[in-house]
């Protein structure tokens, strides 16, 4: 089996080629410790059997970001894999110069390459004529013209790869004619790399047989010295000392190498390509950009696009969510009916099944959001949004690419946090993930509505039309946003560090989105969510169920029998009265059971801690229960006040819970506001916790988020309640 690595610039159709080659035999994982996708797959076609490794797209091998670092490591045989037998470099035929840079860099690692000259159709449409055989001859490796999208050229590619595999010299490009400065520098670097104290750490991959090729030495030289030191102790510092950077570009080895490569590339292109005169040719991209990037119309178009996206995620997902909710309720009932009543059934239905339902209920929003993002990206419009937004976002101290994740967090934090994966810079991504929970998500809305309805019911409308409750809810939304900006500012300067990534973005030509690619992306993300995040959600749901169920308390059985008998006696023949009476007893039973459970005890135990915010132990239990999902506060409070947990009429039920809160827990308008502030800030959603864990690959950041958000919530809520009380606003 041949090891074939697939390298290339972003936007060259590399992923399309990978999908065409591997079909459904692809596997997506992670590289250790980094959130970059690792894509591998098998290509089987007759005599050809390849293990294809799709490297992250990069413009250069020099390690400016994790993507390039990984590409280099895979090509040089780290991570325990052996170095590839053949490297297929996917080139955008319409963009040859920049693409050939990567090809030369890879060739300098002494690896046999095959150039896949992709997107030939786009090149033809632009009137570009390439003398492929001539260019291949001059370059020194096979060049295969292709249109990966329609699978044209696959056989030729297979043939070329097979030829190079059997005779690697056919794919080895001659070294660039370096000037003396570079030749000397490479010799110095090679000598340093040979020293035993700079050898790679044990178990961290190939030291390679024999002296490293030119490209390898230049790579280490061009690396950030700190990064180099981390991978091979002291090497970075030693190279920086021996070959310091020069002010003048033409004396700086690293930059001179790039210039020399481009000089070679320019000569190759001039000699073997030709472009037709452009007069009369319609450039759609230019035309659309005249609108899309227009200072006024472009912004309008952008707002429209975001509005549609938000509406899709927020509202169009509703029918699907309801269907999943009801579907699982139905399954739950069926399971209860089918299995004998008892603890096991309870765990199954209220623990495991509830957890699974709780995971799958996010699917519609995640699927729709990622569909939206994939479409934006595939058409090329996403790059335009960066152009429009950059100024505004940097002024606000936020990374430019965090707009879409934060916008979707208003619908639900979970897909918003997952969408942060599209942010390339690690620091920017972390900040986005850590402030996303402050975007008021849809689940908080029922809580806000219940609270404002209960405490502001009688208040006169402001200015005659705006309801007080409505104003407060809007206020909570704004509060969340403002707080997020403040927190982002603080985080940047303390915990997260680093500066925001510089904006350097290719603006690709517009393109009709490819259904297959888009569908595949969405399917991959959804699957990853269900498997990774879902398992954590299910586990946490079971734990929460246990907290609310054990120890088994409730009414004393003798007392219960007595009450049932009394209810029967009282109701007599009246079925309705009997049912109501029995329901009453059942609710009372639930109330006591919850009070005696661990969750109940926790609620009572934390009362001293939450009293400064104006909450009592009943609300405390509600807070514990709302860890499952924020809107679960309402049914849990329902149980706490002996109203049972089944809602026939949601609005009426919520209203009833609100009234009970006023009556039993002493909820005044001030307490209500304090509660809303708490819900606005606190991290209560276990699913959000699980999503953060998945995106940051560890428990450190989720726990940090938990501590900082809940701590902040406590502080702000307490401040609101205490200061309000001190000011006399009860």
């Amino acid at each position: 089996m041949l090891h074939v690595a697939l390298a290339g610039n972003p936007n060259t159709g590399k992923t399309t080629l990978f999908n065409v080659l591997t079909g459904s035999h692809a596997h997506v994982g992670n590289y250790p410790g980094i959130t970059v996708d690792r894509r591998t797959g098998e290509h089987r076609d007759g005599a050809h059997h390849w293990l294809v490794h799709d490297l992250p797209g990069c413009y250069s091998l020099v390690a400016h970001s994790p993507e390039e670092e990984i590409a280099h490591h895979v090509l040089t045989g780290r991570y325990g894999d052996r170095a590839p037998d053949v490297v297929v470099v996917v080139l955008d035929a319409a963009n040859l110069a920049r693409n050939l840079l990567l090809l030369l860099q890879i060739a300098e690692l002494d690896l046999p390459v095959v150039g896949a000259l992709n997107m030939m159709d786009a090149a033809d449409a632009q009137g570009l004529h390439i003398d492929v055989p001539g260019l291949a001859q001059a370059l020194g490796c096979p060049l295969v013209p292709m249109v990966a999208r329609t699978a044209q050229g696959i056989e030729a590619l297979q043939t070329a790869v097979a030829q190079v595999a059997s005779d690697p010299t056919r794919g080895r490009i001659a070294t660039t004619d370096w000037p003396q400065l570079i030749v000397d520098a490479v010799a110095t670097g090679r000598a340093l790399m040979a020293r035993p104290e700079h050898a790679p750490l044990a178990g961290r991959g190939a030291a390679g047989k024999g002296p490293p090729p030119d490209g390898e030495v230049l790579w280490w030289l061009s690396c950030d010295p700190e990064l180099a030191d981390r991978l091979r102790p002291g090497l970075g510092s030693a190279l920086a000392r021996a070959l310091p950077r020069a002010e003048d570009e033409s004396r700086d080895v690293r930059r001179l190498a790039t210039s020399c490569r481009y000089a070679r590339i320019d000569a190759l292109i001039a000699g073997h390509t030709r472009r037709d005169a452009q007069a009369g040719r319609v450039d759609w991209t230019d035309r659309i950009d005249a609108l899309a990037l227009h200072p006024v119309l472009g912004v309008g178009l952008f707002l429209l696009a975001m509005g549609v996206l938000f509406q899709a995620v927020f509202a169009w997902s509703d029918p699907f969510i309801t269907a999943i909710d009801e579907g699982f309720s139905g399954i739950g009932e069926w399971v209860r009916a089918a299995l004998p009543a008892g603890l096991l059934t309870d765990v199954l239905v209220d623990g495991v099944l509830a957890g699974v339902a709780g995971t799958l209920v996010f699917l519609p929003q995640i699927a729709i959001l990622f569909l939206g993002i994939a479409l934006l990206e595939d058409t090329g419009y996403l790059a335009r949004t960066a152009f429009l937004l950059d100024r505004l976002m940097t002024r606000a101290g936020l990374p430019g690419k965090s707009f879409v994740p934060l916008l979707s967090s208003f619908a639900c934090n979970v897909p918003g946090i997952l969408a942060a994966r599209t942010i390339p810079s690690r620091g920017d991504r972390m900040i986005t993930i850590l402030i996303a929970p402050l975007m008021t998500c849809a689940a908080r809305l029922p809580v806000y509505t219940m609270v404002t309805a209960a405490v502001f019911a009688g208040a006169a409308p402001v200015l005659g039309i705006l309801s007080v409750g409505g104003l407060f809810i809007t206020g909570m939304y704004l509060f969340g946003v403002v707080l997020a900006l403040v927190v982002a500012w603080v985080l940047r300067r303390t915990v997260v560090g680093g500066t925001s990534a510089p904006l350097l973005l290719e603006m690709p030509p517009y393109r009709v989105p490819r259904v297959g690619t888009v569908a595949r992306e969405v399917a991959l993300r959804v699957r990853r969510f269900v498997v990774n995040t879902g398992s954590v959600i299910v586990a946490l749901t079971v734990v929460l169920w246990a907290l609310m169920t054990f120890p088994r308390g409730g009414m004393d059985p003798a007392e219960r029998d007595r009450q049932v008998a009394a209810a029967r006696a009282q109701a007599g023949e009246d079925e309705g009265a009997l049912a109501a009476g029995l329901a009453q007893i059942a609710h009372e039973d639930e109330r006591l059971q919850l009070r005696d459970s661990i969750a109940g005890r926790i609620g009572r135990a934390i009362e001293p801690a939450i009293a400064p915010m104006g909450f009592d132990w009943r609300i405390g239990i509600g807070l514990v229960g709302s860890l499952a999902a924020r809107e679960v506060l309402i049914p849990v409070m329902g149980r706490v006040y002996g109203r049972g947990a089944q809602m026939d009429d949601e609005q009426a039920y919520a209203a009833g819970v609100g009234r009970s809160m006023v009556r039993f827990s002493g909820m005044t308008p001030l307490v209500g506001i304090s509660l809303m502030v708490f819900f606005a800030v606190a991290m209560q959603c276990l699913s959000t916790l699980a999503a953060i864990r998945d995106e940051t690959q560890g428990w450190r950041w989720p726990l940090f988020a938990l501590v900082y958000l809940n701590g902040l919530a406590w502080l702000l809520s307490t401040a609101v309640f205490q200061i309000g009380g001190w000011l006399g606003l009860a």
């Binding site: 950059d390 100024r391 904006l503």
Partner: protein
């Protein structure tokens, strides 16, 4: 869109460039990794570059460099030095500029 040429030879930064005019890169005054990256993207000496548009309020610039379009921030554009392109370009690249007739201004 058709590309224009300035007749006077002058040095200016990308931030001062006029949209639609053809220039070539003189040098990049950005030490460090960002400068390296710009070079790797093709902003080498004598490479053809054209400013397409600027975002309002000091926002990013959209620039055509060789065969593709790049977005970069105004603050970085100030560090890229340009020269007005000669009518007969020294770097015959695949850019359409090579086939147009210069229009005197």
């Amino acid at each position: 869109m058709s590309v224009k040429f300035q007749t006077a030879r002058e040095t200016l930064t990308l931030a001062e460039a006029r949209p639609g005019y053809a220039y070539t890169i003189a040098s990049i005054v950005l030490p460090g990794p960002l400068g390296d990256r710009l070079l790797e993207l093709g902003l080498t000496r004598r490479a053809p570059v054209t400013l397409l548009r600027r975002a309002p309020l000091g926002g990013p610039l959209q620039v055509r460099i060789r065969d593709f379009v790049l977005t970069l921030r105004a603050e970085h554009a100030r560090a890229i030095e340009l020269v007005a392109a000669p009518a007969a370009p020294t770097v015959t690249s695949t850019l359409r500029m090579a086939t147009l007739q210069p229009t005197a201004r």
